[in-house]
């Protein structure tokens, strides 16, 4: 199925807005989404499945008497198909409760140029190419060690485009590509099974190293085979990007969302300009990061993406705003309205959450730890307290560092603490920046982390 062209996408959005205004909406906004993806799947050590998914639809938000209605449909082919969701959104708004704080949809602003978010090489990839990438990754994993079993994974290429229009004259269109390959492995010896070890590449441009991914995932699993317990105490822990992505998503990121602050759900409330973290920590939310997985011209409300200082040298600088929360505080949106395609209304989320790198290499970081742990994967981070930032998670697994070297792996090690204390105890920042979902970060070394051993 051919992708919808820019003009088609924009006129779908504009026509929906027009229809809503004609039918009595005071304000209206339409968001059109199209995603086309091809995937080659690995299961039980072999390439055994494929899929091709085409998903498109329209979400419409209308305002009547300061009350908000929203409706969506995934039937967009016929012009009359748009009238139904528009009517549905309006009827929802008319019976809903007015919001006295509603202060209008965003106004039109110019968009910046984004770089490296679309690669026609990805669009042109054939299924044969994708199968070949999967085979390269799988073969590389298999060659590391006989005890390794690649349990699942795959290769996927995707094209996503969005169009937005609102009754304040905003119109926007953006398109992008993404390609990823990943493999999850475990190693088995006698009756020992390791935890699942995972590695991946994901990029907006055709830039993959499937052999590295396969090899790395396999090596991790092998190194997790032999385990020894560690003792219960507080000490140094190096958190890699996998661990940081999990932990921050359910704790720190909640605290910098303006809606959390406005709703008394953030310990950062009233602390702008104050030191809240180690001076080693600087974070930007950067919706324009070159080649970023969440880079785009505009956010889910058509507000331009930007680069926002969140924490600079430990000092809290800004919260992340969408249009609604910004107007409530008399501020400008920071372009952080996020949407799940056409299915949802916008909500505040990070774009690319960029923890700035330091100058220590990963080798130097390890060599300077006399006694500590390095943690890749975490289990249970989503059960952290999203308001207080308290966490109690399992490292699956953790590796012990002794006198500057990784000595052995340990299972069932728990880490417990509070994210707002943890960020004050960041002592070393690596130079090994890596992108993982919304996070772009180097390794971080944290002091005095509570470790519960077996």
């Amino acid at each position: 199925v051919a992708v919808l062209e820019k003009n088609t996408m924009i006129s779908l959005a504009e026509n929906a807005v027009k229809a809503a205004l004609n039918m009595g909406a005071v304000e209206a906004e339409a968001y059109v989404y199209e995603g086309q993806a091809s995937n080659i799947g690995i299961e039980l050590g072999q390439i055994s499945k494929t899929n091709r998914i085409i998903d498109r639809g329209l979400g419409i938000r209308v305002v009547a008497n300061k009350a908000i209605g929203f409706a969506y449909t995934n039937i967009v082919e016929a012009a009359e198909a748009v009238e139904k969701p528009v009517a549905s959104a309006l009827s929802a708004a008319r019976v809903s409760k007015p919001d006295p704080d509603w202060n209008g949809l965003p106004q039109k602003k110019p968009y910046a140029n984004t770089a490296k978010t679309f690669d026609k090489k990805i669009v042109a990839l054939s299924s044969e190419d994708l199968v070949q990438i999967a085979a390269t990754m799988l073969d590389a994993a298999g060659q590391v060690d006989k005890r390794v079993f690649p349990i699942e994974g795959g290769v996927g290429s995707g094209y996503i485009s969005t169009a937005i229009a609102n009754s304040n004259g905003i119109t926007g269109f953006d398109k992008g590509t993404v390609i990823e390959c990943s493999v999850a492995t475990l190693a088995k010896e006698n009756n020992t099974v390791t935890p699942v070890c995972f590695e991946f590449n994901a990029a907006r441009n055709y830039d993959l190293d499937p052999a590295w991914v396969g090899k790395q995932a396999a090596k991790m699993a092998v190194s997790a085979l032999k385990t020894k317990p560690v003792e219960t105490k507080s000490g140094k822990v190096i958190l890699t990007q996998f661990a940081l992505q999990e932990l921050l998503a359910y704790t720190l990121i909640n605290a910098i969302r303006a809606d959390s602050v406005q709703r008394d759900q953030s310990p950062f409330k009233g602390k702008l300009g104050e030191k809240v973290a180690s001076e080693n920590l600087t974070i930007y939310d950067d919706g324009l990061f070159v080649g970023g997985l969440r880079t785009g011209a505009f956010d889910g409300e058509g507000v331009p993406h930007q680069k926002t200082a969140v924490i600079e040298k430990g000092v809290l600088r800004n919260f992340l705003y969408d249009n609604y929360s910004a107007k409530k505080d008399g501020k400008e949106s920071t372009g952080n309205a996020s949407r799940a395609g056409y299915l949802s209304t916008p909500g505040i989320d990070t774009t690319n959450f960029h923890i700035m790198p330091g100058n220590k290499s990963s080798g130097e970081m390890l060599s300077e730890v006399d006694d500590g742990l390095i943690v890749y994967y975490l289990q249970g981070a989503h059960s952290s307290n999203p308001v207080s930032g308290e966490f109690s998670v399992v490292a699956t697994p953790a590796w012990k560092i002794k006198n500057g070297e990784i000595t052995h792996c340990s299972r069932g090690v728990m880490l417990a603490g509070n994210i707002f204390e943890l960020v004050k105890n960041i002592s070393v920042v690596g130079d090994n920046e890596r992108q993982m979902g919304q996070l772009i970060s180097p390794w971080l070394q944290v002091e005095n982390v509570r470790v519960i051993g077996q």
């Binding site: 449909t73 959104a89 289990q379 307290n385 109690s392």
Partner: protein, 467 residues
């Protein structure tokens, strides 16, 4: 509008194209016509009242032993012919490198029409009424105590029907009906922040809100957030614990359920070598049951057209069964159990749990705690996660100390962790009560599930605490 006959004919035609034109060994087509209503309320503000329509078709084919899958949000026959051609072509390509071609266990051909019979169909309830109910929860929670700072209510219902037609001749149309709500509240006092959540859900109908009133729901969530303001951090280390039914449910789901999903067992999960072996105390009996009327995890046929069973997973400590789809059942020479579920037309069916629980025994709550000198009572969970090596983690949102057989001071933000194969042997007491909770499980896709059980005692498990 296309009627049922036309849609069945359309799906049959797609399957025929796959088998006759492209040489597929097997083909199935699923279609859905679903209507969703959703609400989000925050502090008595209706963020948006939402309504949506989702129509689409999923086609899955087996060609030379490899799967091909295509999904389109359309019921147009030309687009569907294109999709089935894509699916067959890609499957054929992937099959070139197969070592072990996929085969399917045989199943009976089914022709059925499954009707939902709600007392109150959510599709017939006006939006105003739904907003009023959600507002009632919001008000009750915020009004409970002035230290409650925020309360969110997320509500959704889903109605409509799904169609399944296979090249083997099965043809099933099932009504879909789900009603669900999640309530979260936060409290704050003197620099201490607490958080509490509760979920309710049913496949019966909107009468769910007659069984649990708005006021009771709102107060329950608020009360927990307030009580935690005075709670302290637990000590980390190994302790005896008594778990409430909601924590037991998540424990069964995470610590055992995922390992008993046959795809994960085949992937090298720790149950693979333990079939028929005793891995827990005599008190441990678990089921995964898709037949409990009205439960959130219940349905009549899975997304491979297989009737949903009551599946015994572990009996008196001995591993007795796994959850299967047709592919894994063939590998294990077992019966498919009806556990193949797809979230919607966008994704392929995979093995998922339904209502997973521990069977009750004969002890009272008092008997379970009376021998605990120093330990914890964990009443309500926040989340949990499993790993194939048997490591589990369950985060706790409501817990108390047990000192000398009595419930003591509240603790907050604890979690328990351990290895399934060790921990199930530590189950030393099982209560006679029983509760089933609705939940949502993530395994790439979201599935609506239930889990539960009685109160139980575990003699020794690692408690993660920061004190």
């Amino acid at each position: 509008l296309k009627g049922q006959i036309t849609l069945k004919d359309l799906l049959t035609k797609i399957n025929n194209t796959a088998t006759q034109k492209f040489g597929a060994q097997y083909a199935e087509a699923r279609a859905q016509k679903l209507y969703k209503t959703a609400l989000t309320l925050k502090e008595e503000r209706v963020e948006a009242a939402k309504q949506g329509i989702e129509n689409g078709v999923a086609i899955r084919v087996l060609v030379n032993g490899a799967w091909g899958f295509a999904s389109v949000g359309s019921l147009d026959s030309v687009i569907l012919e294109g999709a089935v051609s894509d699916a067959c072509r890609m499957a054929k390509l992937a099959s070139a490198r197969l070592k072990t071609p996929i085969k399917l266990a045989a199943v009976k051909v089914v022709e059925d029409r499954v009707l939902s019979k709600p007392k109150k169909n959510p599709a017939d309830i006006q939006m105003e009424e739904k907003i009023k109910t959600a507002l009632g929860v919001n008000k009750a929670s915020l009004g409970f105590d002035k230290r409650i700072k925020s309360c969110s209510v997320d509500y959704f219902d889903l109605t409509g029907s799904s169609f399944f037609v296979s090249s083997e001749g099965s043809s099933i149309e099932q009504d879909k009906l789900y009603v669900w709500a999640r309530i979260t509240a936060s409290a704050q006092n003197e620099g201490i922040f607490t958080f509490s959540k509760e979920e309710i859900g049913s496949t019966k109908g909107y009468e769910l809100f007659d069984e649990q009133t708005s006021e009771a729901l709102g107060e329950k969530v608020a009360k927990r957030a307030i009580e935690q303001l005075n709670a302290k951090s637990p000590r980390g280390g190994k302790f005896p614990v008594v778990l409430g039914p909601s924590v037991v449910g998540v424990f069964v789901h995470e610590a055992f359920g995922h390992l008993a999903e046959a795809d994960l067992a085949l992937s090298g999960g720790v149950l693979a070598n333990n079939f028929g072996k005793k891995i827990g105390s005599n008190l441990v009996t678990f089921y995964d049951d898709g037949t409990i009327e009205g439960a959130f995890g219940t349905f009549k046929y899975d997304d491979e057209g297989v009737p949903s069973h009551k599946t015994l997973l572990i009996k008196d400590g001995v591993v007795s069964g796994l959850m299967h789809n047709r592919e894994t059942a063939q590998k294990f020479n077992a019966e498919p159990t009806g556990n193949a579920r797809a979230e919607d037309f966008r994704v392929e069916p995979i093995i998922r749990m339904r209502c997973t629980y521990m069977a009750p025994r004969d002890q009272t709550f008092e008997e379970l705690i009376e021998d605990v000198k120093s330990g914890y009572y964990f009443k309500s969970f926040r989340g949990g996660q499993a790993n194939l090596d048997g490591t589990f983690q369950v985060g706790i949102q409501e817990g108390y100390e047990i000192e000398n057989g009595e419930i003591g001071a509240p603790v907050r933000n604890a979690s328990i962790s351990g290895n399934t194969l060790e921990t199930l042997h530590q189950v030393s007491g099982v209560g006679k009560d029983f509760l089933l909770d609705p939940g949502r499980c993530g395994k790439g896709q979201t599935a609506f599930i239930s889990d539960g059980g009685p109160h139980i005692r575990i003699s020794k498990v690692v408690v993660g605490g920061s004190a």
